[in-house]
C-alpha cells in the first residue's frame, strides 16, 4: 500500500509526508513538460498537486464532494494569507470566484456538496507556465 504523500503549497515534496487522516488518499503521478502532477484520490475528494522540477509545490487544484478537505494543511504557510483575504474583504470581492492576494491566485466554484477550486503561488510558478496548466 502506497503511503500517501501530502505536500503543502510552497513546500518541498521530499520533506513532507503529512499523514492525512482526513484525506486517506491514493496517489498517482503524471509527468508533464516542465512539472509533475501528483493526483491524490480520496473518498469525496480529488486533489492535484503541481510540483516544479525542483520539487516545490507551486499549485493545487481540488474537487470536493463529501467530508472535510483540509485547506489549512494544503495551503501550508500560505493559509494565513488566504484566510486573512477571505475574512477581511467586502462581500463583493470576497465572493468573487477568483481572488488575488499578495502571493496567490485562488479560484473557487460550485455549490453545497460539489465544490472545486485551484490555487497558484505566483512567485513559485515555473518559467513558461501559466494558470491554464492548473486544471
Amino acid at each position: 500500500m502506497a503511503r500517501p504523500v501530502f505536500p503543502a503549497l510552497g513546500e518541498p515534496l521530499a520533506s513532507i509526508e503529512r499523514d492525512q487522516q482526513l484525506l486517506q488518499a491514493t496517489q498517482t503521478v503524471q509527468q508533464q513538460t516542465g512539472f509533475t502532477v501528483h493526483i491524490l484520490t480520496a473518498p469525496g475528494a480529488v486533489v492535484r498537486e503541481y510540483a516544479s522540477p525542483a520539487g516545490v509545490v507551486f499549485a493545487l487544484a481540488w474537487q470536493h464532494r463529501m467530508g472535510l478537505l483540509d485547506l489549512e494543511v494544503l495551503f501550508g504557510s500560505y493559509y494565513q494569507e488566504y484566510a486573512q483575504a477571505m475574512t477581511m474583504q467586502a462581500s463583493e470581492a470576497r465572493q468573487s470566484p477568483r481572488m488575488t492576494t499578495e502571493h496567490l491566485i485562488v479560484e473557487r466554484r460550485g455549490r453545497m456538496g460539489a465544490a472545486s477550486g485551484r490555487v497558484l503561488v505566483i512567485p513559485l510558478l515555473p518559467p513558461g507556465l501559466s494558470q491554464d496548466h492548473i486544471q
Binding site: 482526513l22 480529488v46 492535484r48 487544484a61 481540488w62 474537487q63 470536493h64 464532494r65 463529501m66 467530508g67 472535510l68 478537505l69 483540509d70 485547506l71 489549512e72 494543511v73 494565513q80 488566504y82 484566510a83 486573512q84 477571505m86 475574512t87 474583504q89 467586502a90 462581500s91 463583493e92 470581492a93 470576497r94 465572493q95 468573487s96 470566484p97 477568483r98 481572488m99 488575488t100 479560484e107 473557487r108 466554484r109 460550485g110 455549490r111 453545497m112 456538496g113 460539489a114 465544490a115 472545486s116 477550486g117 485551484r118 486544471q135
Partner: protein, 395 residues
C-alpha cells in the same frame, strides 16, 4: 450557492432594511389548519433581487424574508436578506442578526455536547451550532426543525481556524446575506453537511446526527412536494430590481398548478441533469444562489478587469440542450453579454451574465439568469406530484 463578480455600481438609497425585529403573527404554536382558515396565497414568498439591504449589494442575488421563532413560543423574529438558494438544503442564519436567544434550544448529542456544523459552498464555508427552531415560510403553518446558527466563534473557534479547516464567513457583511434558505429538492443535505460534537472550546468529528439540518419545505404539512420559483423577464440591458415569487408545493393549490412544462428527472446521487453544450455533455444544475451562468467555453473571452466573468466584444447568442434521466430534453437559448458593459449600466439584475467554470468541476451551472422570465418547478425527492416523483426540475 455561488456568487457574484461585478461590484455593484448602484448607489444605495438611504433606506436600508435592517433585520426585522418585529414580531410576526405567531401567537399560536399549533400547526394550524391547512387551507381552511388561511389565504389562498399563504404558500407565497416574495423574492426580491436588488431591492435593498445586504442582498442588493450583489448582482443577481435573490432574497426572501423568513420568520424564526423560539420553539413553541410567541417569540418570533422576521429576518430579511435571506438568500434563496436552490443549490443547498437547510435554513442557515447568522446568530449575530438574531435578537432571539436559542441557547436553551441548541441540539446536543445526548451527552451534553452541542452539535456544530460545517457547510462548504462554492466560494466559502459557514460554521456554527445547530438549534431547534420554529420556522414560518410565507403564511404557512410553522414547522419545528433544526436550523444552522452561523457563528464563526462558536465553540471557541475563529473565521480563520475552525473545524471546517478553511476560512468561514465571519459576518453578514462578509457573506452578503443574513442567512440562506436552502430548498434544493431533497429532504436533507445528503451528507454535504459535516457535523461535530463540541464543548465550549473544542470539537470532534461526529457522524450524521438524528437532528441534522433539514429542508424546511420538506416538512410543511401540505405544500411539501416541491416548489415553484417564478420571475418576470428583464431586458437585455438588465433591470434595477425584480420581484418574483417562491410558491411552496407543486399542484397543491390553484397557484402552483403546472402546465406545459418539460420534466427533467435528476440523478438521485449527484442531483444533476445532463447539459449538452457545443457538443460536450456536462452535469447540469439550476442554482438561484449562482449569480451567473457558469460554464466552460474558451471561445468566449474573459474580462480583463473583472474576475471570473465573460466579456465578449458583442453579445453572443448560444444554445444548450438539457436532458433528464428520463431522456426528456429541452433546448435553451441564452445570451452572454459583456459583463463590463452590463456592470456600467448600474442595473442589478441581468439574464445574460456568464463566467467560466473552474476547470476541474466541469459542470454547467444554470444560475439566476436562467430563472428570469421563467417558472421553474423543483420536485422533492421521493414525493409525488402531478409532474411525477422527485427529484426533478421542470420548466
Amino acid at each position: 450557492m455561488m456568487s457574484k463578480v461585478i461590484i455593484r455600481l448602484r448607489v444605495f438609497l438611504g433606506l436600508i432594511l435592517l433585520v426585522g425585529a418585529g414580531t410576526a403573527g405567531c401567537g399560536s404554536s399549533s400547526s394550524g389548519p391547512s387551507d381552511g382558515g388561511r389565504s389562498q396565497d399563504s404558500n407565497v414568498l416574495p423574492v426580491m433581487i436588488g431591492g435593498g439591504g445586504l442582498c442588493a449589494g450583489i448582482i443577481n442575488r435573490p432574497c426572501v424574508n423568513v420568520t424564526i421563532c423560539i420553539p413553541g413560543s410567541a417569540q418570533c423574529q422576521t429576518v430579511t436578506d435571506i438568500l434563496l438558494d436552490t443549490g443547498s438544503v437547510g435554513l442557515r442564519v447568522f446568530k449575530s442578526v438574531l435578537t432571539l436567544d436559542f441557547s436553551q434550544h441548541l441540539e446536543t448529542n445526548g451527552q451534553g455536547n452541542i452539535i456544530g456544523e460545517c457547510v462548504i459552498f462554492g466560494t466559502g464555508a459557514v460554521w456554527g451550532s445547530v438549534a431547534n427552531a420554529d420556522v414560518i415560510l410565507g403564511d404557512e403553518p410553522r414547522v419545528s426543525i433544526p436550523i444552522h446558527l452561523v457563528d464563526s466563534t462558536f465553540a471557541g473557534q475563529s473565521a480563520a481556524s475552525n473545524p471546517c479547516r478553511q476560512p468561514v464567513d465571519a459576518t453578514p457583511q462578509n457573506a452578503g446575506f443574513n442567512g440562506l434558505l436552502g430548498i434544493d429538492g431533497f429532504e436533507s443535505d445528503r451528507g454535504a453537511g459535516i457535523y461535530f460534537s463540541c464543548s465550549t472550546s473544542a470539537c470532534a468529528l461526529l457522524g450524521r446526527p438524528a437532528n441534522a439540518v433539514l429542508n424546511p419545505v420538506a416538512v410543511l404539512p401540505n405544500d411539501n412536494n416541491g416548489h415553484v420559483i417564478t420571475f418576470p423577464a428583464v431586458d437585455r440591458t438588465g433591470a434595477p430590481t425584480v420581484t418574483g415569487s417562491l410558491l411552496l408545493g407543486i399542484g397543491t393549490r390553484s397557484n402552483n398548478m403546472p402546465s406545459g412544462v418539460s420534466v427533467l428527472t435528476r440523478d438521485a446521487a449527484t442531483g444533476t441533469i445532463m447539459t449538452v453544450y457545443k457538443g460536450t455533455a456536462f452535469p447540469g444544475f439550476f442554482d438561484t444562489g449562482s449569480t451567473f451562468l457558469f460554464f466552460s467555453d474558451p471561445a468566449i473571452p474573459e474580462c480583463a478587469n473583472i474576475s471570473g466573468a465573460f466579456c465578449p466584444s458583442s453579445p453572443v447568442n448560444l444554445t444548450a440542450t438539457n436532458q433528464g434521466r428520463n431522456q426528456a430534453s429541452s433546448v435553451v437559448n441564452f445570451q452572454i453579454a459583456n459583463a463590463n458593459d452590463l456592470g456600467n449600466s448600474g442595473n442589478g439584475v441581468f439574464d445574460n451574465l456568464g463566467g467560466p467554470d473552474v476547470n476541474m468541476s466541469a459542470e454547467f451551472d444554470w444560475g439566476l439568469p436562467f430563472f428570469l422570465g421563467r417558472t421553474v418547478y423543483t420536485g422533492m425527492a421521493g414525493r409525488g406530484s402531478s409532474l411525477g416523483t422527485g427529484p426533478f426540475w421542470a420548466y
